[in-house]
Amino acid sequence: MHYQNREYPYQTPPELKGENPGKYPVAIVGAGPIGMAMAIDLALHGIRSVILDDNNKVSVGSRAICWAKRTLEIFDRLGIGDRMLEKGVTWKVGRLFYGEKEVFNFDLLPDDAHKMPAFINLQQYYVEEYLVDRIADFPDLIDLRWLSKVTGEKIEDDGVTLHVQTAEGNYDLRAGYVLACDGCKSQIRQRMGLAFEGQIFEEHFLITDVEMPEPPFESETPERWFWFNPPFHAGQSALLHRQPDNIYRIDLQLGPDADPIEEAKSEHVIPRVKQIIGDREFKIDWVSVYSFTCAMLERFVHGRVIFVGDSAHVVSPFGARGGNGGIQDVDNLGWKLAAVLKGEAEPVLLDSYDEERRHGARENIKNSSRATNFMTPKSKMETIFRDSVLTLASDLPFARTLVNSGRLSVPCTLDGIGLQMPHLNKNGAAPGTACPDAPLPGGWLLNQLGGEFVLLTIGEKARQASLPGVTNLHFENNAAVSAHYGDDVIYLIRPDQHIAATLDAEADSETLERALAYAKGKPALETAS
């Protein structure tokens, strides 16, 4: 069934009613997935924000569909994880074809030790709709303004004045911090004259969403099919996977010389789809042709203006690292900005967002560029190598892992950078790791972590540890928890569910205090002074 875009109403803001709302702590430009998730994270910390969006709809047409485990865990903390899981299609079987032949397949067995699966497919419009609904839970903290375009900004040391354009008239709005979540074509970035450089790929890809009442697979199990050089599309690659509502995404590589407008015409699209799915009933739901860039800003934090999501970095879609990477930005920035605004940390803490998430973005760009390079060899020799890998992959495991149709998004480790303390207790997982989930009686470990600092103590020897003002979570003789976290270890867990410190079970309170100060930016302060 074709998605019906709701139109969200414009409402006259206080500024145009002659009221003086004063300075907002945070203004967010852009109500895409990143801007909205950002507002919710801040609201969960009690921080008020205004979101301005030039549109009045959620994402139109087909964009992100694939959401990774870590992203789902973050969305779960923000309050929409269960809805996403319920509606989304959980992937299971993947098949890889080269020419006519199936080279290999894999089964993503569910991991019972984690609440969230490795991946789900869910159209971006649903994710955004759920975010809009969730925002309604915070009427006093989030002011979401549709049809409000930001046309300029005046940046000062203690805040930013935004110029906002609406059909009713224009107004200025003052905020302590502006979060530029205005997407890959960010006008804020352009107006500030910031370089956005990287690798441009010449290839064109066609994406189409096709509605089919009957799955093209042999069973009801959702599959993901990827072809190199398929018989129906010589020399190129193709991808088919399932989304909710009996909608299937097809991606077709078109080569660098394709004419995007011509290719998107239904007289070209329909025969191509027929070649892939055979003679069965289908309806085209969406078609677009795109090419892409992998690029990022040199810095994400520019004083009072902070770039988050696609405005800060863009990747090719292979590996689904765009939205997934942006949600990890939100996770990283939310608690830091809240701590700074509440006076619990110095502004220098925001520099760690810059450092940690540029590290993440670099890793995402590296992986998606590699996948794109594998799919679009740029010389005869590269093509020979690529095809040889595919040939060997039928029986040699090493070649199978070299086949690169996208390395799916996993959280990067922050070990050794930013706020992480050295790894002081080798019985436990390394600092900088995103906390693995574990089943608990009646729930999940990750639902008990996050949002605030937590002192996680494991094993009898660690039982005495405590840190004033920090919640303590203790486990003993819990095999599921110890499988990931070891025994006789004290962890300090950050509000974004990352391990800040891994300490000895006997660590004294001074050490624990120091770990907390460290995680709130103390090392950065020391180098700054």
Binding site: M381, F385, V389, P397, F398
Partner: protein, 65 residues
């Protein structure tokens, strides 16, 4: 003695790094130069492998497409 090829993936965790390095080595070369680079590489790697039985098995497998 004739051997079978290893089923162990010994390139991990650096498989993608290796592939990138290999492509970068070919970057900008004419096709003949690329072929010559491959030949040198095969010879060097053959010596690293050393074992004649393994090399025989590798040549046999590589001949199949």
């Amino acid at each position: 003695m004739r051997k079978t090829l290893t089923q162990t993936d010994r390139l991990q965790p650096h498989g993608d790094d290796f592939y990138e390095l290999l492509m970068a080595a070919h970057d900008g070369l004419a096709f003949d130069q690329s072929a010559a680079l491959n030949a040198r590489l095969v010879l060097i790697l053959a010596n690293e492998v050393g074992d004649f039985g393994t090399l025989t098995a590798a040549i046999d497998r590589a001949k199949k497409t």
